[in-house]
Amino acid sequence: MSPAARREQAISVMALGHAVGRRVLLPLVGVVIVLAIWQATVAIYRLPLIVLPPPWTVATTLADLVGTRAFWRDVGVSLYEFVAGYAIGTTLGVATGLAMGESRRFRQALTPVIESLRFIVPFAWIPLTILWFGTSYAGKIMLVAYAVYFVMTVSTARAIAHVDPTLTRVGTMLGMRPLRLALRVHLPAAMPTIASAARAAAAIGWIAVVAAEYIGASAGLGLMITNAASSLATGVVIAGMIVIGLIGAGVSAAILAIARARPSAR
């Protein structure tokens, strides 16, 4: 190997090391500092476990929790409610948004209704869903579908309206009928915007499930942490919050992966 090549290699290794330091080491330092402050607060003020357990206790609580059947049942129930509601809300929302984007008449007729319902945030529906459906899954599924529906409708309609008009002209020139044009040209072209709206909607829908479970549920992560809070098991509450955050991030990553895997999404 020539000296120049060797030097180049050394530089690139150094650059790699630098990047690793910035991307991995410094955030790690941040996490360690936060955990140290947490631990120090507990130690200095002698906080009892019910106010704030130290990080290590939370970690062991989380490990114990993951080993129980009840925990996985709660996760399963919450995820089931979320996935079912999300599928319904996204499908209906994209369909409505597509129709609103394609037909000006339809958009003009539907806009006042959509806009006024949009301001009644999903959380305000929780008591009504409990009166209608009790503590069953159906209420939460409806709530998630409602929360997701409006995000998807509004952003799909906007995305369809902003599709490059050249594509429409090409499609028309090739003799495509309006329905085929909408499904085969406009929808794929609007896919990137719809995919990012789908991620935002997932975050809202997931937290709507948790909030609904606080107020009336027979199982689920939201119920688990409110129960833990009322029996002052703060370690379980924090462990549950971590799980809720992890699932939220996981769902978002999964939707991104699905959107990337579709060739039309690019």
Partner: protein, 276 residues
């Protein structure tokens, strides 16, 4: 020519109205159709429609809304708004200060921004039980939750605003002999505050939703407490009236803030003009 132009100008509002009329009519038709479907559904479900048999008609809800507005609405709204305003201001101020530190210092940003990013997916709603353990059912827990919700939104905008000051402007400013403090005061601060302003409007709805959930769970006062109260007495028309009052107050708040933002934006032009 000029006569023609004047005539065209005079008839332009009328023309514009004529062009918009079909759209407005369609919108009214859509709203009426929705109300008609609602009335028919409530009528059809009256005689026992399974789970959904407790669906009151629009008139019953409207009557209930009128009664609520005459009664306790003002008190509940003030109580909710107070929680919301305190939490919102605290959240915006904290996010601006911390955002300035994390955005301007490369080291602090590299160390702590990932931590902030890790906390963000845990929505403020997930903090409700913990904040009740910490602060009880009073004002403190709700203010904490709203503040957190607003903070988590605004911090992104604040970091963005102060780390994205164009390098050209910064170089020019230092070349023209501006001191660090001057650069901060006239360059970085305005750029940050504009983004913070946008972020705090985005955070409006997040904070308002958090107020609702906090009041539903820790029901002692406010619109959410009223909502849970009428839910527990199975009063469906009152529940729907409370939901509508929530929607209306959110709508009014959003409209006011959008207008306010439009008023404040000229200030940004002044600030950038007197900066260099």
């Amino acid at each position: 020519m000029t006569m023609n132009g004047a005539a065209a100008a005079a008839s332009r509002p009328a023309q514009r109205l004529a062009a918009r009329l079909p759209g407005l009519l369609l919108g009214c038709a859509g709203a009426l159709a929705a109300i008609a479907v609602w009335s028919l559904a409530s009528h059809a479900l009256q005689g026992g429609g399974g789970v959904l048999n407790r669906l009151p008609g629009p008139l019953a809800v409207l009557r209930e809304l009128a009664r609520y507005v005459e009664g306790d609405f003002a008190r509940d709204l003030v109580s909710s708004l107070r929680v919301f305003a305190i939490g919102w201001v605290l959240g915006v101020v904290a996010a601006t200060l911390i955002g300035l530190v994390l955005g301007r210092s490369a080291l602090a940003g590299a160390v702590f921004l990932p931590v902030v990013e890790a906390i963000r997916p845990v929505s403020s709603i997930a903090w409700v039980p913990l904040s009740i353990v910490w602060f009880g059912f009073g004002l403190g827990s709700k203010v904490f939750l709203v503040g957190l919700a607003v903070f988590l939104v605004v911090i992104v905008y604040a970091v963005d605003g102060c780390s994205r000051v164009p390098t050209d402007l910064e170089r020019t400013a230092s070349m023209l002999g501006m001191r660090r403090l001057q650069r901060f005061r006239h360059l970085i601060l305005p750029s940050t505050l504009i983004e913070v302003l946008i972020g705090s409007r985005v955070a409006l709805m997040a904070g308002w939703g958090t107020v609702i959930v906090a009041e539903l769970v820790a029901a002692d006062s406010g619109l959410g407490a009223h909502l849970i109260g009428v839910e527990q007495s199975y009063d469906v028309p009152a529940v729907m009236a409370a939901m509508i009052s929530f929607g209306l107050s959110g709508f009014v708040m959003n409209a006011l803030f959008t207008r306010l933002e439009r008023h404040i934006v000229p200030w940004r032009r002044d600030a950038t003009q007197d900066a260099p």
